[in-house]
């Protein structure tokens, strides 16, 4: 499959990148790891006239620690996330989720920024970022802003990102020591998109859940922040009754479509199963 013709640009800096985006406007697309955009170009579902490759923009790479947060550059690959000792120690749900994305070859190329900014509801990291209450730093030539992951997603392939903006980095408030976490993903085979998946983060204190966030992958037009499901376990010991109520709430907001992954009823059911398993596994890990 041969994509439509385009001009290729490989800027070496953010300034150069913003210049290209300002010059070519809607005709330009940035490419990160390319494993979402290039297949779309091969199918000619995407036909950018100018392709702006971000691989040489060093400012978009790297994982660093601040006193109360971890900052991840948008061009950091899934492979680098998996290998990061900092993340494994301080925010292990990211490694757990990254290991369930696609396959090794794709994880060497695929980036965190591409996964979360593309707006594909099948991508795994958006729900994880919602559960972590991450904030996305977006920059354009003459300004910058931050948007919360929970506010970023509008619809299928539709996000708060404007065409002249680039996702620069992701700021994740450092989870408390001993927090509970899990990303549970049901898929038909290794590397597949989720039939349904659930990201869970919480903190326990004195035997009770004192903060919690639950988010869902691929059961709606956007990743879903399951606020009521979280509230159902808040203040409890995350016992069976609380988990069952969280499952009921999560199923209530799931709006999966019927496709190769299963019927609406099946995927709604699996949504509940994923929330239950994620809460139980996170509880085993907490403490």
């Amino acid at each position: 499959m041969i994509p439509a013709a385009f001009a290729y640009h490989r800027p070496g800096s953010l300034n150069e990148t913003f210049g290209l985006l300002a010059q070519h406007g809607e005709d330009a697309r940035v490419v990160a790891g390319g494993h979402s955009l290039i297949p779309m170009m091969k199918l000619r579902l995407a036909r950018p006239e100018h392709l702006v490759d971000l691989q040489d923009v060093e400012d978009l790479r790297g994982i660093r620690s601040e006193p109360d947060a971890v900052i991840i550059g948008s061009m950091t690959t899934q492979h680098e996330l998996i290998g990061s000792e900092l993340l494994t120690a301080r925010c292990p749900i990211i490694r757990e989720a990254a290991l369930q994305i696609a396959d090794p070859q794709i994880r060497y190329c695929g980036t965190l920024g591409g996964n979360i900014a593309n707006g594909d509801p099948g991508n795994d990291m958006p729900a994880v970022m919602m559960a972590l209450d991450a904030r996305y730093r977006l920059e354009r030539r003459d300004g910058e802003r931050e948007v919360a992951a929970r506010e970023f997603y509008r619809g299928v392939y539709s996000t708060a990102l404007q065409s002249d903006e680039i996702l620069i980095s992701i700021r994740i408030p450092t989870p408390a020591e001993g927090h509970g976490y899990a990303y549970e993903k049901q898929k038909r085979k290794v590397g597949d998109y989720a039939t349904a998946a659930a990201a869970v983060m919480f903190e326990m204190s004195g035997g009770a859940c004192v903060s919690v966030a639950i988010a869902l992958t691929n059961v709606g037009e956007t990743p879903l922040f399951a606020k009521d499901a979280g509230n159902a376990v808040l203040g409890t010991a995350i016992d069976d009754a609380a988990i069952s109520e969280a499952v009921r709430c999560a199923r209530g907001i799931a709006k999966p479509s019927a496709d190769g992954h299963g019927s609406v009823e099946f995927r709604t059911h699996i949504t509940g199963v994923m929330v239950r398993r994620a809460l139980m596994r996170a509880k085993e890990r907490a403490g």
């Binding site: 385009f6 490989r10 290039i38 091969k42 396959d103 070859q105 060497y108 190329c109």
Partner: protein
């Protein structure tokens, strides 16, 4: 669109050529450079038959544009053969353990296994299976493929110990 000048290293040889920006890396390798080890299977980044090693990473060359490989260092299955023509331990082990049936997936499997063993010289069977999750064998001959990779790992480790 105007062709672009491209310089890269393929199997330890400097290559200089002109490419259309939209040319995929697999087409550069196969059609322009005549390196036909990497195969085009699914052409949708699922099957892994086009896997090459690029800058120390296993990459599906059907989903990378040739221009993105500017200044890259690429190894294909052809490049694993020693200077004297001797087979790489992985290639030998695939032959000995019959790690192939029709052979279509084999170059991708071996090239992927090469990087896997660079990163994890002593993988368990489970680690091998997860490590080659991006390579499909439609003859479903995985058992002997996994066995061959395991055998190659042992041989390479023995050779390394003997050298120390």
């Amino acid at each position: 669109m105007a062709k672009m000048h491209l310089q890269l290293r393929v199997n330890n040889k400097e290559v200089e050529t002109l490419v259309d920006p939209r040319m995929l890396l697999i087409h550069l390798l196969r059609e322009q450079l005549g390196i036909t080890g990497p195969h085009i299977g699914c052409d949708t980044s699922h099957c892994g038959a086009c896997t090459i090693d690029m800058n120390g990473k296993s990459v599906k060359s059907c989903t990378v544009f040739a221009v993105q490989a500017q200044a890259a260092d690429i190894i294909t299955v052809e490049g694993l053969v020693g200077g004297d023509g001797s087979l790489h331990p992985l290639q030998e082990a695939f032959r000995e353990h019959h790690g192939l049936q029709c052979g279509f997936c084999t170059p991708g499997m071996i090239t992927r296994a090469y990087r896997l063993l660079q990163e994890n010289p002593n993988p368990s069977e489970t680690e091998i299976r997860h490590g080659i999750a991006g390579n499909l064998c439609r003859c479903t001959g995985y058992l002997t493929i996994v066995r061959a990779i395991r055998a190659a790992a042992e041989r390479m480790n023995d050779a390394r110990e003997a050298a120390e």
